[in-house]
Amino acid sequence: MTISLLYALVGVVLLGIGLYSLIIYSHLVKKILALNVAGSGVFLFLVATANQTSGPVPDPVPHAMVLTGIVVAVSATALALALACRIHQVTGTARLTENEPE
């Protein structure tokens, strides 16, 4: 078992945990956290794929992808948190009601 395989497996496990939590928790902050955990899993997996090149230098492309992915994740998380705050301000709860009045 190489270290990169371990990274990849941990990445998959994190993704699973994240998605599971995303579904079972209803509090918005928890959902957002869950998404971040899942995202970290994907990033970890991506980093693990960098170890494929034969030379001593790892493949830089996955690193660049992860960096880009992290920035995107930060942006999305910020927007999500801002929305969550606003929802809390307007509705008094930080949960999404199941059946919205339509």
Binding site: A64, L67, V71, V74, R86
Partner: protein
């Protein structure tokens, strides 16, 4: 790596080989800030209370180092891990310290803030289009100037990233904050941190 104009392979991929991704990504960052502005009318974090003197003192001590570290990280990105995002994040830490210390932004700052937010993306696009006009392909740097152009883009991006990350932390447009208007004068100018680089 020589053809890319930088020696750090990750920076080469980010700013040159796959620079287009990074361009869009800076767009995502600006977009998130806009999203926060439009979703949240007034900042979530900024409070009206007067800043504690200890925090002010800490800031006075820390800020120069933060700026220095940011500049260094930005510059070192050419050779080793580092670059605009890392530098921007460090500077943003300074911005976050400022806002947690309840230091309001002054009027000048809020006026130029939007320019600072946009400057990174703007520089990137302008450089990309200019290189396209010169060499025929979007973001195709002239080999000799590649390093310089990348540094210019990164510097501009650092400013934007720092501001935007700070704003994302505050969670709203400081322009709309009640403190921005009446207490503007005694505050630090957040831009000064970045422009000193």
């Amino acid at each position: 790596m020589a053809i890319s104009g930088v020696e750090n392979p990750v920076t080469a991929v980010l700013l040159n080989f796959r620079g287009y991704d990074t361009l869009l990504e800076i767009g995502v960052l600006l977009l998130a800030a806009l999203g926060v502005f439009s979703a949240v009318p007034s900042p979530v974090i900024l409070s009206k209370s007067t800043p504690s003197p200890i925090l002010i003192l800490l800031l006075r001590l820390l800020l120069p180092f933060i700026v220095l570290a940011g500049g260094y990280i930005l510059w070192i990105g050419k050779y080793a891990p580092g670059g605009a995002f890392q530098a921007g994040a460090i500077l943003a830490a300074g911005g976050i310290l400022l806002s947690t210390a309840a230091v309001p932004f002054n009027r000048f700052a809020t006026k130029t803030m939007s320019i600072a937010m946009g400057i990174g993306l703007l520089t990137f696009i302008v450089v990309a289009l200019a290189t396209m006009m010169v060499r025929g392909n979007f973001l195709q740097y002239p080999v000799a100037q590649a390093g310089t152009l990348i540094l210019v883009i990164e510097a501009a991006a650092t400013i934007s990233i720092a501001i935007i990350l700070t704003i994302l932390f505050i969670g709203g447009n400081p322009e709309e904050s009640p403190t921005a208007k009446d207490e503007g004068d005694k505050a630090f100018i957040i831009e000064r941190d970045n422009t000193t680089k």
